[in-house]
Each structure stands twice: as C-alpha cells, then as structure tokens.
Amino acid sequence: MKILVCISNVPDTTSKINFVDNSTKFDATGVQFIIGPYDDYALARAIELKEATPGTTVTVINVGGAETEPTIRKALAIGADDAIRVNAEPTDSFFVASQIAEHAKEYDLVLMGRESIDFNGGVVHAMVGEILGIPSLSPVMKLEIEGTKVKMEREIEGGKEQVEANLPLVAGCQEPIAEWKIPNMRGIMSARTKPLKVVDPTAVEQTVLLQKFQLPAAKGAIKMISADNVAELVTLLKTEAKVL
C-alpha cells in the first residue's frame, strides 16, 4: 500500500503571532516552525500502518518554499520513506489542495491533519477528495484498514460516528488516532539521505486573494473578586459584562 501524508509547516503552538510589511506578511522572526500538530498525528498513524503491513510505503508532501525542508526532514526522521516538496507558497486551501491532488493520484491512502494551525481552513482533505473523485472524511480519530475497506471513527458535534469507506481515500486526522512519534538518532541520521524531490507547482486559477492580516484588539485589565464574595461575580456578569 502507498500512503501519502500531507504536512504543513506552521509556527509552534506557543508562538506569538505578529505581522510585518504593513500587515501583509507573517513575521517569522524568532518563530519555531513545526510539523502541523494534526499532520503529526496523520504521520504517526501512517508510520504505524507501515510497521504493521510489510510493503507499505509512506511519502510526505509539503507545499512550501525551501525554508520548510527542516520540517520535511523531521517527517523523514520520524519514519517516512521519501518526500515531495512543491516549491510554492501555500496561499490558500484550493491552491494547496490542487497541488497535492496533482501528486496524490497514485496513492491508496492520503492522510493529513484536520486543519493547518496557521490558516485553519480545515478543507484541504475535502478538496483533494473532490478533485480526485474519491471519498474524504475528517476529523478522523481512529482508522483501521481491512483489505480495501477503511473503518473510521469521526468526531461530530457532541459525539462521534463510525464510518466505512473503500480505498483510495483521503482522511483528515486528529487525536487520538495515534501517538505522536519522536524521531530517534538513527531516524535523524537516515533522514539526511532519504529522497526529497522538489517539484514546481502546477498552474492553478487564483480564486482568493489575501489582502491583509489583523491582530485582535488587546484585552482589557482583569477584575479580581474576593473568594469570600463570590456573589459579586454573578452581579458583575449580569450588570457589567451583561453575559448572564
């Protein structure tokens, strides 16, 4: 079986977000980039499937500039066999999905996170499935393969559902589909020589255009209430905050 894992290169979850160039560019100064946390779950599940089934290969794909290669190498260190980097800025969901779809046709299973934690579109899996004409499902919390059948557990508002579909399939993943894997020294050493193919993007019609970014308004000062006067909190929530 051939598995394709799509990874995003995103700021660490503890990053402070800032913008430069008149709020049109993300300020990467001092920011640590990581494999998207949800993509990391997808990768971990792919490696588990590879370990459980001889003959399974795992390819990672990322849409991004050369600066994303340390993140791609980390995915290789975790256990992917090879990698593709589509040399383009991942501007929007449709653009990224179109690039992935271009390379995903020959794979049985396409896994990725439920969303990237930078733009939070949460639809690349659905778009890749639509472009390729194959089923897609997200957010998937469990995924088992039995022959050509895939059994999944999907989270829905206030619960979960069990879903079945046939390969080939696209799944957007989230915990607890697998435990994150940490690369070991052997993995890190071997990742250096694993194939990382850089390809040019396919031409895609630009459907959306980013104009600018904005930071939320600063939060006002906190009002502390004494533990001996809890009723005052209820009064303030009613009369001042007007949320009760």
């Binding site: 979850t13 977000i17 934690i117 508002e157 619960g159 630009q206 502390m224 209820v234």
Partner: protein
C-alpha cells in the same frame, strides 16, 4: 439573485448556527433561500422565515437522513444552479465545512471558512477570517463570481425579525456513486447543550483532581444552562470524553461566557477560548497564566468556590 443557505438539523431541530447563517445571508441584502435535507417538521421549516429566509427548499428524501458529505455536496450544487444562486452560506461544522469545500470545487467558487463578519464590498468582495487559531484575522478577497462562505459562530446574530417563508418541496435525483461513505453507527450526548454552540461554557482542568469531582462543575453548568468543557490533560487522562476538550487541538468555542475552573491556561488552551466574549478564571494559583487572558478572576480553591458560585447563580434567578 438569492443567496442559498444550507440549514443543518439535529434531532429534527434546526441548529442555532444555521440560524446565524440565515441572518448573515439576510444582512448581505439578498433574498435568502434556505435548504434543508432529510426529514424535518413543517413547523420547523416555516420557522426559518422568522430569521430572514424567504423560501425554504425541503428535500424530504429519507436517503438524506444520514448525512453523507458527498451526497449533500451534490444536492447543494444542484440547488445553487436551480435557484440561480451565486453565493452559498453555511455554518462551519463537521458536516457543513467539508460539504462547502466540495461545492466550491464543483461550482468553481471562491471559498472561505471561519468567516467572522459580514463581507465588505467597497474594494472587491472581502471577508474577514479567523486564523492562527483565533490569534489573528485575515482579510480575503473572494474573486470568483460564485462564492461559498462558511461562517464561524457569532458571525451574525440569529434574531427573530418576524418574516414568513414559503416551504417548497424540492426533488433531486441522487447519484448512487455519491454514497461513498457509510455511517454504521453514531453516539451523541443526549439532552446536553452542544459545546461548540453553547452561549455559556463551564470548563474544568486538573485542579478538579479527578473525574469523580465533576458533579460540582456540572451543577454549576446546569444552573447556568451551560455546556461543559475540559482542558487537554483532563481529556488525555480519560476523565472526560474527547469531544469536551477545549483548545488548540480540540473544540474551539466562542460563547458569551467561558468559566475556567482549575485550568492553568496554557497557550494551547487559550487558543480554543480566545473568541469568548467574557472569560472568568477560578484558580487557587494566583500566578496561573490564565488570569492574564481573563476578564474576571477569583483566586481560590475550586471545591470552595464552585458550590458558592452555584448557590449565587441560583439566588440571582
């Protein structure tokens, strides 16, 4: 030209976030055609008029009672064509968002999810999106003639404006090949207020010391008619189900009031709550980082404060 709004139902009831989608489309200044798929009560369909829908298309096919994303996407695509609608609006959800993405591809539409405000049309058709898990916004121009917009909770207020809607039975021939996923079973918390839609959320962390202590939190939630949530460690340890996990890798909530009890406020947790209008933090550690993100705070022991707070809420009714 009408705007089409996909209205989700759960247990026969229209989702509140779908009412917000109708209000959103109505405020865009267009006639709103709502579409409901699967079995639904006529009164529930007619009630959409009160929120701004002029017409309600109802596809009563029982095959749609099970929400297969691919099938729903095809039906909505057909409805956009038949209605001459260039814009589809719906609420972000585990069903709506992927359906919207597929419709966007099928109709060659510009797509945006997580939209938080009405579009601005002074300089192109521009929507404001929540990004970086609530830590920032982006302004995005939707360039194509056709547009699909998935709105985040609170993008518009669902308010009764007193109109009436004509309910029109709508038939679509379903394509067997679209039934490409099969839901074999589902589990849903019953009777509870859905966490992503709740106006008040009471959330507990490790400070509650164990799942056996959740009753005092649930009592407060009941008194406030709130949904209950929890921090990641609490869900990781299995004290509470995963669908209650609020945070960067869990549910993102946007209630009027978020009450955090015994949660220190890791940045990953804050990412899930930063769209809340008002945040109350109760923690015995005065240095807990959550206080920096809160509107009101009480330094104190959860086991002491919670019963007092429940009693105070009860007394205020």
């Amino acid at each position: 030209m009408p705007v089409l709004v996909f209205v989700e139902t759960g247990d026969g009831k229209v989702r509140k976030t779908s009412l917000e989608a109708i209000a959103y489309a109505n405020k865009m200044g267009s006639d709103v055609t709502a579409i409901v798929l699967g079995s639904a009560q006529i009164a529930e369909l007619e009630s959409l008029g009160k929120y701004g829908a002029k017409k309600v298309l109802h596809v009563a096919d029982a095959k749609l009672d099970q929400a297969v994303i691919q099938v729903y996407a095809s039906v909505l695509t057909k409805a956009m064509q038949d209605e001459g609608a260039d814009i589809l609006v719906l609420a972000n959800s585990s069903l709506g968002t992927p359906v919207a993405a597929k419709v966007a591809i099928k109709t060659n539409a510009s797509f945006a999810s997580n939209v938080v405000e009405l579009p601005s049309t002074t300089n192109g058709f521009v929507v404001k999106r929540s990004i970086y898990t609530g830590k920032a916004f982006s302004f995005v121009e939707l360039k194509n003639l056709k547009k699909v917009i998935a709105i985040k909770k609170n993008a518009a207020e669902a308010k009764e404006i007193g109109g009436t809607a004509t309910v029109v039975p709508y038939q679509v021939s379903l394509n067997d090949a679209d039934f490409n996923t099969t839901i074999t079973s589902s589990e849903k918390a019953t009777g509870d207020i859905l966490l992503p839609e709740a106006e008040i959320v009471v959330s507990g962390g490790r400070g509650l010391k164990g799942p056996e202590h959740w009753a005092i939190l649930e009592e407060l939630a009941k008194e406030l008619r709130a949904a209950t949530g929890c921090s990641k460690p609490v869900s990781d340890m299995g004290w509470r189900p995963h669908h209650e996990h609020v945070g960067q890798t869990g549910v993102k909530v946007a209630p009027q009031l978020y009450i955090a009890i015994g949660i220190s406020g890791a940045i990953q947790h804050l990412a899930g709550v930063n769209s809340s209008k008002c945040i109350v933090v109760i923690n015995k550690d005065a240095d807990a980082p959550f206080f920096k993100a809160a509107d009101y705070g009480i330094v104190g022991d959860a086991f002491d404060i919670l019963p007092k707070l429940t009693a105070a809420v009860k007394a205020s009714h």
